[in-house]
Symmetry: C2
Subunit: 571 residues, 2 copies
Amino acid sequence: MKQSLTLIPTMREVPSDIEVKSYKMLLRAGFLKPSTYGVYSYLPLAKRLLTKIEKIVREEIEAVGAIEISLSSLQSHDIWEQSERIHHFKDELLTLTDRHKRKLLLATSHEEIVTMLVRDEIKSYKKLPLILYQIQMKYRDEKKSRKGLIRSREFYLNDTYSFHANEISLSDTYDRIVQAFTNILNRLRLNYLVVEADSGVKGEIQAQEFIIPSEYGDTVIVKSNQSNYMANVEVANIMPNNKEKTTLLKLLEKVATPEVTTIRDLCQYFNISPESCMKTLVYLIDDEFVVVLVRGDHQVNEYKLKKVLNATSMRLANEDEINDLLGCSPSSIGPIKLPINIKVFADYAIQSLTNSVTGANEEGYHYINVNPERDFAINTYADLRYIQEGEISPDGEGITQFIYGHEIGHVIKLGTFFSEKFNANFVDEHDVSNPILMGSYQLGISRLLAILAEKCQDDNGFVWPTYLSPYDIHLIPINRDDEVQWNLSNELYNILSSYHFDVLFDDRHESPGVKFTDADLIGLPVRVMIGKKATEGIVEVKIRSTGETFEWAKEELVDRLNEFFRTNSYN
Amino acid sequence: MKQSLTLIPTMREVPSDIEVKSYKMLLRAGFLKPSTYGVYSYLPLAKRLLTKIEKIVREEIEAVGAIEISLSSLQSHDIWEQSERIHHFKDELLTLTDRHKRKLLLATSHEEIVTMLVRDEIKSYKKLPLILYQIQMKYRDEKKSRKGLIRSREFYLNDTYSFHANEISLSDTYDRIVQAFTNILNRLRLNYLVVEADSGVKGEIQAQEFIIPSEYGDTVIVKSNQSNYMANVEVANIMPNNKEKTTLLKLLEKVATPEVTTIRDLCQYFNISPESCMKTLVYLIDDEFVVVLVRGDHQVNEYKLKKVLNATSMRLANEDEINDLLGCSPSSIGPIKLPINIKVFADYAIQSLTNSVTGANEEGYHYINVNPERDFAINTYADLRYIQEGEISPDGEGITQFIYGHEIGHVIKLGTFFSEKFNANFVDEHDVSNPILMGSYQLGISRLLAILAEKCQDDNGFVWPTYLSPYDIHLIPINRDDEVQWNLSNELYNILSSYHFDVLFDDRHESPGVKFTDADLIGLPVRVMIGKKATEGIVEVKIRSTGETFEWAKEELVDRLNEFFRTNSYN
């Protein structure tokens, strides 16, 4: 490809507010262009990279027996109401109304429609298992989307769905797709973790995430410093603490607490630590208000809360609702003298609190010497908080540590959640009708591009490995106006192309400095420079990854390059 | 591919309300699945067909020097206001609002965003020409979308955009892309017409459409029965008719016309023909009411009207607006005694009308003996109507005939329409800044699939040519329970696959009748059946297109098939 014919708008300076490492370099090297908020266009080099990534993904997913389809992105809002996923995604779904006033949405994944398809077409165990996949644009109105391709609102995803007559078959396919994802990440030379995860779906059997560790990642992984335990912080279990209460219970007392609005204020006011306080929150869960209690230094984990309550929809009550309900602002609420019928869910850590402090449900007042059970009733104790660093590991071995990373894949044994919602049943060997078992598997394609962009770079630009690089060779005449250099460059462009190298030929009228800076930014594995020694038929070759340079005669160039790519390509 | 592992839900009966030939067979043969109104999912066989079509399109478009990119589908509503295309597409655009209350839309083509991209990155003639293309899902909220893939609301399109420093360069690329489209349609063995067309954009230099003639098509093409003249009926010019008026002009007279609401009523009432009447219409054009006159037997051509008035937005005035403006209902309006300031645009055919009939702008009254110029003023005469069959051809040679077809491609020399809207300028050799010249080229990919589905079928199902077929060979054991047949089938599946044939292996537990009916529906070029003669190592081969059958020994099968595909594949 002649560089003058394509579009690689490299930049000397990127806007200073762009902090994401991958995004910054994708802009600098002319791979990507922002379109509208959280949405991007892929320029020629990024499109070539995407194609290479997609090819690897297709090969590995098809090896599992998955069949490619293309399900519609425009979907009826109704089917998302039927699956109740509308409540899970809420504002993250992009919805629209067509000319006939029908409500539509842009799919973020395709469980509903693929379940309906299989329900209509598969009636017997004889036609199971079935594995369908696609690689396609998806849509999600992310709250925080200023992250380039890591979290964009329009993104490429590989989504695979499997359908089974029994759990053995589901487990077998699940394992083989986990292996396929593993193969893909290995072929891309990416380190990864496979961790327990939340599925976002009620009653799933198992869910795991593939995480690429990165200091820039926004997914928090909990690991043990002594065992193999590893999980997304959303699902890391915390054991009940069965510490005996030995402290003497003091008398409950109401105290005026003017200007106390936060746990921190409260601690200062009473000169106590957050561990001694009780934090009270009110949630609206499936149209019912409930009170949730956690220790002052703990954070409510809504994933766990949702699961414990088997909830479909859930959100924090707002200030008005709390005022209506309890007659005070959120900073003065507490679990004592609650209106009847309001259920109280307490984290396990509340169990061992003695003589604690809570709001009094009266503006500007708190109770001290609060003791659970004695002073108020608790409906359920459960694991409702986020684990913290330095706690005992959920598996009991060692201490927890946090690792940050990018979530790149998500595999879920869905069980019968969707097939029950959509009546997707099959008849088994004994003529008995059963709901089809399902699995769902997602791998982020544009996110993979971002992660590779983060990993494959140095200060000067990208450093693409041979098996990913948009082109193989960057061919650069140093002085385009020098006839000998120009002719040799053209000759080599034709020769290398005829040997099936993908060559980017810098035929632009630019200074050598500009061309070299651009070549470093673009990051092709091999640069072939035709300079003064063209008269002797000698070219200079530079390896982007190592910085090594060689002077090779034009006659040996093809053999040398073949040797380089043979020893540096992937298996 | 083992048929049991993929999804080909053939149907014995399709719903009786499905009339479109291509759609019907795509459903019957299990290629397509309706998702929501006017939106479809592509099942495995359709996806394979699409991939083959896309490959041919990519090869031909890239041969012109076009570079693949992927522009965002989610776009800011603002930029479509800036280009004023919002007025052209109106209700056909699917618009939405995100969580931050920003107005977005789903692109139906990408002129705005690609112009902005090139504006930002191309500043000099040295970087021109540039040709960018994509193959991508587009969105259009079609008014009539019950046509399967011919007119779906979510559709694959190949859209290409070219950027130039001068008209010679634009014309050169335009011609080469026309040639690329021609090559694609030739390779797909589709007959086509290239006709003059409307561009939908003001001030374009040239626009043509590629039409696949079909009795099922909804595009009307006008051709001459004697010359090469051919055009979309939307743009077919009609010459002014300079017939001398020889009739004696009678006195204008107002007549009560109770119960006359249509031109037909009027003709009956006065016992005249529609050719003698004048039809009056009121349009709201760029916020101004104008009156348009055509002969009673003619239809206003809004494409021409828009162009004559250089209008951005245009629609028919509604009944209330007409009542407010003229004090009567639409059936009594006419051009006499109009409120001052209302401009009158008349079709050329009005010029030669004498003693005609029009509404009197008074409920239930018409004028007779109406003569233009004498009885009312006309601001502009222009070509404002649709040509009819049997008229003199626009090029003066022969008589017009109508042909119906599917529009498959659209090529437009846009000129500077978008570059002026978005300030996309370049500096030329003389350091002078000029707007970039642009071309836009579209080829419908999913519509191509529909057209091929319409053409490649007989009563029993699809008849795919070798170069398009989702698989090459349908391998069918007649009795799966016969060990000899089953073993030979498996042996041949392995052998044929190892020779790089794409084999669909019908390993299902179905009767021979079901398998043969499905095979006919699916329509692969060659069917290899393993039946009783398996014991002698003999198989039966049937050619789908001709119905010929052969008995071949398994040893000669590969050679015979190679010979068949060699002589029946495309160049």
